[in-house]
């Protein structure tokens, strides 16, 4: 008890000091600190849309890559700095839900969302925004130069002609990489899933630390084929990269971007207002500008260069399973593929 008090007291002093503190802006009651991994260029748009409804609440973004934001939230577990998480991988949120880091809240209108995009437990903490779908980026110029046929399935990528031409994210450092591995294990079953990855590993030129890098490298011809995600692929193609976006015929894994209120926030009311907005139709329309699949059914408009019928390719992902087996899967993956020190040619 005593400790809890001193913690609170120190926390209070700390917050006050931080507020008046060194080179940081002052924090008023209607400011929300929001952690996110959404692309930098979309943030201003999202906040502006929210302010159309609630002009009195300011959103202070803290943006970083999925891994960094997750690590930050976990590191700050005993002394949370964030009020709301808006736009972080669902698997990360599940991880933190296990640690009891979120406030229970079902936002108004959450039942409008596709059931896959909402927390169906008795004490819901998170709500989905949009889906982030795996895809394969193929550089047409390099494919032609290397006489590579256009792959159409995951199985194709294990054929010997692609040896040294494929890049994928390392699941140990990238959420997209983990999503790929988890989806293969769910799609093919554990045994066949690992067998597939064994074969794929033979063709991998390198593993990257981020999910968008394989596609950007494919766009720049640094590698011929990059296992990445559709959103990134469409963006690179729009920028004029010689890319063909392939949705493998077996189906693809996906991950959602989701939101939740951080437990212990002192601005619960404002946070709830933000959560209500996050699942609202205007917000969904904003997500739809970058993402073809959003949580609310029936409002998606197609996006230029985004693979058509992407929802048909999305497999039924068991996110709880992925979250619960994460450590074991990563240990197995690292043991199989990450212990080789020399890059293969």
């Amino acid at each position: 008890m005593k400790k809890a008090f001193s913690t609170k007291l120190l926390g209070g002093v700390a917050t006050t000091l931080a507020a008046i503190g060194f080179l940081t802006g002052s924090v008023s009651a209607e400011d929300l600190t929001v952690y996110t991994a959404v692309e930098a260029e979309d943030l201003k748009r999202y906040a502006a849309a929210f302010n159309e409804v609630h002009p009195d609440i300011t959103v202070n973004w803290v943006r970083d890559s999925t891994g960094v934001v997750t690590a930050k939230l976990l590191a700050e577990k005993d002394n949370p700095q964030a009020d709301v998480v808006w736009g972080l991988a669902g698997s990360s949120l599940l991880l933190m839900k296990k640690e009891d880091m979120f406030e229970t809240y079902a936002p108004a209108g959450v039942d409008q969302l596709d059931s896959r995009f909402r927390d169906n437990s008795d004490a819901p903490v998170w709500a989905g925004m949009d889906a982030w779908v795996a895809a394969v980026c193929v550089n047409t110029v390099e494919a032609e130069a290397n006489n590579l046929p256009m792959p159409t399935s995951w199985a194709d990528l294990t054929k010997p002609e692609y040896k040294g031409h494929v890049a994928m994210p390392n699941p140990g450092s990238s959420g997209t990489g983990f999503l790929d591995v988890a989806s293969w294990l769910q799609m093919f079953g554990e045994e066949d899933g690992w067998a597939f990855m064994d074969d794929l590993h033979e063709n991998i030129s390198h593993y990257t630390h981020s999910g968008s890098k394989p596609c950007k490298q494919a766009a720049a011809g640094e590698v011929s084929i990059g296992i990445s995600f559709a959103f990134r692929a469409a963006k690179s193609k729009n920028q004029g990269a010689p890319l063909e976006i392939v949705m493998p015929s077996e189906g693809v894994g996906w991950e959602m971007e989701a939101a939740a209120i951080v437990k212990g926030t002192k601005k619960l009311d404002a946070a709830k207002k933000l959560m209500d907005f996050i699942v609202s139709k205007p917000a969904m329309e904003h997500y739809n500008q970058g993402y073809a699949v959003v949580a609310m059914p029936g409002i998606s408009k197609p996006i230029e260069n985004y693979p058509a019928n992407i929802t048909d390719s999305m497999i039924a992902m068991d996110f709880e399973w992925s979250a619960n087996n994460r450590d074991a899967i990563l240990a197995e993956w690292t043991d199989r593929y990450d212990s080789k020190s020399e890059p293969k040619n």
Partner: protein, 567 residues
């Protein structure tokens, strides 16, 4: 005004501490507290974290057992040591010849060659990695030079690390070669020793301490560097990147702490051997030594000049490649030029704000760091009383050299983010970045200050004391002006390093304090390698400008405060 009665007491009387003594002790305690809070405590917390599980329960050496039974993890030790040793041998060899050319030949344009060789200090270590990808990657314009080898992996790491460590080794070896007794060479020549024998028996032995020191500095820099292997390491796992993977990729803080401890060991080992070796070094220059003057030798000078020219060409090529790539619209498919990669606000990593933050952070680091370091060094060297405390302080001040930036940064999360910590309020602010950076670069700055202070006779203090002047008056009116060249040197050293460091800040920056060097890392990570190159070059231009300003200010200060040096 003062009748100084210097009566020698017959028996030993413990002198009573005056008010001035107490003020001085208060200062010593403050400065000592800084190093305890910014270095010793965080490291201790991190050490204890490596013996805890995810929920903070003490589990003994279980994490270590897990570490050493996972080949993917412990293989990195061998990898890290291997590339560090290879880089060490190559860098020291290249830097030795370059230093030899600068000190022992009569080649022309020595000033130019000296400046150009220092360029790598001004860029973040990620930048050579990025440059090499443009030169030797799959689309690299010099790819044919590799004969099918891939640049991603040990090859790329070593080349980029040689670039990055070259000036550090050069500075040390140059100092070693420039102090040499010409009489030894005369004697050898008179004895008709052939040139190669003179080289083996006179030149090398007299430079051996410098060479050893350079070797260890390079080893430590490489084994603790994170930028190069992150960018160009491919599948070649090294310790510094493993920490990042554990913490950022898997949010496994305990294992991150274990890898940190493992990484500390070789760094500390190298550091202590180096200290031992340096202790053995005795003054080589007796009072009667005659400085060595190289004699012109057209063949040899031409050879040395073409060698130096070649090294400079490599350095410039890597940088020019980065600058060119930053301006190209879409490498390699559209080589027309444009400025769109400078539109940092549309990229992940913090935008232009991160660049201004970096400048701000570097200025704070230079200002705060110089004050703390110089005052601290003064207390150690000229302080009175607290002998043991001063020895401890000296030890603490030497430690940061052996502590990798990532380890320091990670320990800061554990230490400063604890809500029970009264210093918790600096977490997430610019202040913690400044503290971390000052601490990370403490040792070299401290040594610079010590060297300058040692050149001042202790008499100054005695005189001021006998004139009943408080020490701070003496400090501000005499010591600081006399040592102003060293102080400026410390300030620019801290500024430049604060601009380029990634490892010390990568775990503790926040949204409002994103930095340019971290933006380079994050943009590269996201695959935006051209904007990463663009930002890296911005850091280079800023540092180059700061260096230039430093040169101008030093000149001016020298005129103002150092006139006494010339008679």
């Amino acid at each position: 005004m003062a009748e100084v009665t210097n009566s020698t007491p017959l028996k030993v009387v413990k002198p009573k501490a005056s008010r001035d003594d107490w003020t001085m002790r208060a200062f010593m305690v403050m400065i000592g507290a800084y190093l305890l809070i910014a270095l010793a405590f965080p490291l201790y917390i991190m050490l204890s974290k490596s013996f805890e599980n995810k929920d903070g329960v003490f589990i003994g050496v279980e994490n270590y057992i897990k570490y050493f039974s996972t080949p993917a993890l412990f293989n990195s030790i061998e990898n890290s040591v291997t590339i560090s040793i290879i880089t060490m041998v190559i860098t020291v060899t290249l830097a030795f010849i370059y230093a030899y050319a600068l000190t022992r030949s009569c080649m022309r344009f020595k000033g130019f060659f000296k400046i150009m060789a220092m360029i790598p200090i001004l860029v973040p270590s990620l930048l050579p990695g990025i440059g090499l990808i443009y030169m030797f990657g799959k689309q690299g314009y010099m790819k044919w030079l590799l004969f099918g080898e891939t640049i991603y992996g040990p090859l790329g790491i070593v080349i980029a690390e040689v670039f990055f460590t070259f000036p550090h080794a050069l500075l040390i070896i140059m100092t070693a070669l420039s102090i040499s007794d010409a009489r030894l060479y005369e004697a050898a020549t008179v004895l008709r020793a052939p040139k190669w024998k003179i080289f083996w028996t006179v030149t090398l032995p007299s430079a051996r301490y410098g060479l050893i020191s350079a070797a260890f500095v390079v080893f430590t820099l490489v084994i603790t560097d994170f930028g190069v292997p992150k960018v160009i390491g491919g599948q070649y796992n090294v310790l510094a990147v493993d920490i990042y993977k554990q913490v950022i990729g898997q949010q496994n803080f305990s294992m991150g702490a274990v890898v940190s401890v493992v990484l500390l060991i070789p760094a500390i080992f190298a550091f202590f051997i180096d200290r031992q070796v340096q202790k053995k070094q005795v003054a080589q220059l007796s009072a009667r030594a005659v400085p060595f003057e190289p004699k012109p030798d057209s063949k040899f000078d031409a050879l040395m000049m073409s060698y130096s020219g070649f090294i400079v060409l490599i350095i410039v090529t890597i940088l020019a490649t980065c600058q060119f790539a930053a301006l190209v619209k879409f490498w390699p498919y559209n080589l027309s030029l444009g400025l769109q990669h400078y539109n940092f606000d549309l990229m992940d990593g913090g935008g232009w704000d991160s660049y201004y933050n970096s400048i701000q952070m570097a200025l704070w680091t230079a200002a705060v760091g110089t004050t703390v370091v110089f005052t601290g060094a003064y207390m150690v060297e000229k302080g009175r009383g607290f002998q043991q405390g001063r020895t401890l302080f000296q030890f603490l001040a030497m430690m940061p050299m052996a502590v990798p930036g990532m380890v320091l940064g990670l320990s800061y999360i554990f230490f400063f983010n604890n809500p029970d910590n009264p210093f918790n309020f600096i977490y997430g602010t610019m202040a913690i970045l400044v503290v971390s950076t000052v601490t990370h670069f403490y040792t070299v700055a401290h040594l610079t200050a010590m060297t300058a202070l040692k050149q001042m006779d202790k008499e100054f203090e005695s005189v001021s004391q006998s004139l009943q002047q408080p020490f701070y008056k003496m400090f501000l009116k005499v010591t600081v002006p006399v040592c102003s060249p060293a102080i400026l040197e410390i300030a620019i050293y801290l500024f430049v390093n604060a601009m380029t460091t990634v490892s010390a800040v990568v775990f503790i920056y926040s949204y409002h304090t994103q930095l340019a060097s971290v933006a380079v890392l994050n943009m590269d990570d996201a695959g935006d390698i051209a904007p990463a190159a663009a930002m890296g070059m911005m850091i280079f231009y800023t540092n180059a400008a700061a260096r230039l300003l430093h040169a101008v200010v030093s000149k001016y200060m020298e005129k103002k405060t150092q006139a006494w040096r010339q008679r």
